[in-house]
Subunit: 348 residues, 4 copies
């Protein structure tokens, strides 16, 4: 079959032939109908230090996708050939404390699809039955593939209980945009977004935050404090991983508020525990992945009910063969795409 | 001044002259600009057994209102003459365990405005400073007076954390209608409403629940279970106090779900603890009043941001002098009003 | 093999020969080393209406046990021959909403060991791998078998967060006694126990509650209110299922307190929603089973650390052959036993 | 009256004459019977950069004390002359969002007794009525004064819900020792303490943690991970403020665990958000002060019930006149005291 492969250490990737996977007894084989691009994939494509330390080429990468099941292993019971599924990319061990206490998304022996195991930028992918999530056929494939990253934001916003609250969202990447959509849907009454990239700040407008700040030009801390009469916001959703944003987040979160840490900084960040955390009496919730599978239920409720429409975030769709063209949108000085959807097959 | 007074035991009330109250050192005197009718007031007007056991005529009643401050007691510090305020109707003692641990809305020595102390269906009312809540002048008086009952529903829905959840709401009185509006605003993705009164079921439509059932004709339990594939709903908001509704609520709440008890039944209800509660592993949250004053913050956030528009619920406005005319709308076989707003003064 | 069998509808049970079970692919076969008696078993033995409606003889019953694994099915991965295990008696389906969202103990398709499937009052029992919980060999068999019922109480007390709180515990059966031990271990600072059976009230003393009331002679409500200066208790643990106890519980729980409903009443109980629940602003947590498997971790932490010693509750040990003798202790007017442990084999 | 006064910028303090305070209308005047020393007082005594930036000499300092009321302001209602009280040292404004929503301990305009207002190292001190907490006369003065710092630890441990859990406590100062006592009382089943000062590590033994590590000699991270089979602990209580301890805490907290931040580092600490927080999916609860007044209720429940005995932590008692002698115990290379209690009056 055809797949996008990191063939050897170094930047780039090939669209080439690999063996079609054979599902083991607990796996299902899925024909990929749509996949989507994540920041992690960009690390792999560009071969950043993180990728170098973690990825073992040759490797098919990609972990966001949806498709229909074409084969199932001998022990598979819940999934049938023909089912529409999307995939949870966190592959749990089932045996550790976390897996046995309702927290398998942070399994101690966690493996990630497309990072630790062959991924989904391919015509077919084999995944453990547990990670196959039934998807309503009413959901178009390009929306179904977004459930995984959208789930990150749904989990983050749910943990912050934004109902009737004031919220600041840092980060204009897809999870920041998704978080804005979810915060709006979940009843945040004042939403302040802070980002840096004009292309993506424009995408944010689709979800109608109350204010959008360009961190390069505006003074978001001062303006958020002013707009909240000095109180600050009840909730900060830090989806950027940027050092400046993290400090700004601690400045605008009100005393006793909640700071959700989702964005991954590239390096350690000096934190003033006394002034940024303790005297403020805040709580930090660090979010990784999505709850398996409570978040997925919410995701499907939101999408099927029409409460959130993800279509505005899909700015481009490419065949997998055009991976290099797609990457040019993301590797310039500024990202010129929202979510990029990849479909199997050769360029049109 | 003029006021609506329950002059003696028995049905009815008079619009008559009483002395204008003089604020004590911790009180503020408010000129009532708008008041609104609550089920409690109807009990007092009709002189039900509850009213007979609790109310000591002669007595000005009414507890929902908004107005501007015209005088303040010597020890008042936070409120100034001219401020626009609405009133928390729960008057706390400040000394009991609950008052000292952040739960003064369920004070052990709780007094209720218009029940235990002279109320607001009058040109002026004196209330403790603590219960005067600043209200943005941008809020019209007839909306400002609804903050108190709306707060009941905001508190109830907040406790149920409806974000991305399935919700059934029993009761088509104002708090049921408000709860529908709040559940929608806070991201419930499927909302089923169950009521009995055609006039009020029609009002519910303004808040766009997914389904509205007329309990007299439909089979809400079967239809809710069918619509949720047998699972049931994550959350039941029981705002009616009707025995049938309570049992229906226990049937449709899913295992592990949340049942919010707000409606006040007139008599004990036989509960099957094993089947209705324990084998289902549910939690019941009994809600009285509003959190002082976290709920009020949410209320103002919702109303000022425009996330919820309460105008459709106000079906009638009368001068206080027309109290008997107003009551005719509520005392027939079926309520023919949503929320009734009263304004001081003689009939047009 | 030998087993205790309900051979036909009606009171009593036989100690007789049945086929040794053969584990299916996901099951493990366990040699029972110790089992213990639960109220459910008494219903089956006495053939109460509940038993008649639920049990299909002939049937081996019993669901509390510990033992060592002697065989495993082909797909079993986590458990090995020779492992010491105790059993979770709730057999989940893995596919329903609850199973997929961390609440498999209240699975929609829940089956109970020894109720819906052949039980453990036998030399051998086959159980699903998921329900086999590794048990430290340092734990004696007769303690290991108590983990399941002790887990009920650990879950109930944990949900009530009794740390530094005042607690009233209703019910002097084993789960009431266990709850007293756990409440003590988890830092309840005032513990009031209410029971009816002198034999079991004496057992309670091993866990040093502050006060023990005999509901037949004392006035527990008045005395608890007096001892708490009229406030009432922060937490009620209702472990009895008795109507009088439930109403007493609602009277002594403070406004804003937590009422844990665990005991199963035999018939519906008339509840005054207004006075018992809503005006008090309480929450009710209905508890069934144990969290799978967070509670089991706590159970093992408590037992292995020596924080709780369950030995005083084991008042009798019988060979399974002596089932009728054992039952005489429980079927008189008053229970004359704490926990009865059964060991496989003929009477000494 | 006599008081300990920081007369001018620079190290040291004087025991000298100052005016006795006169209570304002909302204040009570208390005769100090016992006071106690906190790390904050040491900063003031030594005149560290923090003290220099915050304290305005001349100033009576000290904020932990108990005493009896000798006078009350005109508007005081809850407190009477003769009452035994201890003091909440956080003086709230009553008007900010936090004060009005049950979080006055993190008031936006918070003032601290003995820091922003004249303190309690004196014969008499005036405090706002709200901050006077009734104390059972059964509690000796030297225990009563410890309620405030003990409350820090009670709040921290309560937030971590340690019931049946594994806990690591960093810091051997009084709040670390108190936290150990509370974690034990609240049912932590494995407690690992990490400290640096032999004198204080010895004090820890009174509260029977499972293991005590001397960070200077032992390898606490490796040993805690080994003792928990690689899992780590459910809860970290960081009571030291030391950079090394914070990083060790992040290493030993299990995925999904809770990290309580209480100790105040002197400088920013570089945090690896990805590895220390996000991939672990932990939550951080930053704790300042005590809940007003839910924590105080727990404190009194613990002390009056005898569940926790604070006497072993009081290693020295001095008259206030001997302040310099007392300080020598704390200003050497290693602290040679637990909690130091000060009593009014001249040296013996």
């Amino acid at each position: 079959m055809k797949a996008i492969v990191k063939e050897r250490p170094g930047a780039g990737a090939c669209y080439t032939d690999v063996d079609r996977p054979i599902p083991s007894s607990h796996q299902v084989l899925v024909r990929v109908r749509a996949a989507s691009f994540c920041g992690t994939d960009l690390h792999i494509y560009k071969w950043t230090p993180w990728a170098e330390s973690r990825i073992h080429p040759p490797m098919v990468f990609g972990h966001e996708f949806a498709g229909d099941v074409v084969d199932v292993g001998a022990q598979v019971e819940r999934i049938r050939v023909g089912d529409h599924i999307a995939a949870e990319s966190h592959l749990p061990c089932f045996e550790c404390y976390q897996c046995r206490t309702g927290a398998m998304h942070i399994c101690q022996n966690l493996q990630i699809l497309g990072v630790d195991r062959p991924g989904c930028f391919a015509e077919y992918v084999a995944i453990p039955e547990i990670c196959a999530v039934h998807t309503d056929p009413a959901l178009p494939w390009e929306i179904a593939t977004l459930q995984e990253p959208f789930g990150n934001s749904v989990y983050a916003v749910t943990e912050a209980a934004v109902m009737g609250k004031r919220v600041a969202i840092f980060g204009d990447g897809p999870t920041g945009i998704f978080a804005t959509a979810v915060a709006r849907a979940f009843g945040a009454t004042q939403i302040f977004c802070v980002g840096l990239q004009p292309y993506r700040l424009a995408l944010l407008r689709h979800y109608a935050p109350d204010r959008i700040f360009d961190a390069a030009q505006d003074a978001p801390v001062e303006q958020i404090l002013q707009a909240t009469r000095g109180l600050g916001v009840d909730v900060v959703l830090e989806m950027s991983g940027a050092e400046a944003a993290i400090h700004q987040g601690f400045r605008v979160v009100r005393k006793g508020g909640t700071f959700v840490a989702f964005g991954l900084p590239a390096a350690p960040i000096p934190i003033n525990f006394a002034d940024e955390l303790i005297f403020k009496g805040i709580q930090i919730k660090a979010i990784n992945g999505r709850q398996m599978f409570a978040t997925w239920e919410q995701v499907q409720n939101l999408l099927l009910s029409g409460r959130v429409d993800l279509r505005p975030v899909i700015t481009h769709t490419f065949p997998m063969a055009a991976i290099d063209t797609a990457m040019q949108l993301l590797t310039g000085q500024e990202a010129k795409a929202g979510k990029i959807v990849l479909t199997p097959g050769a360029a049109g």
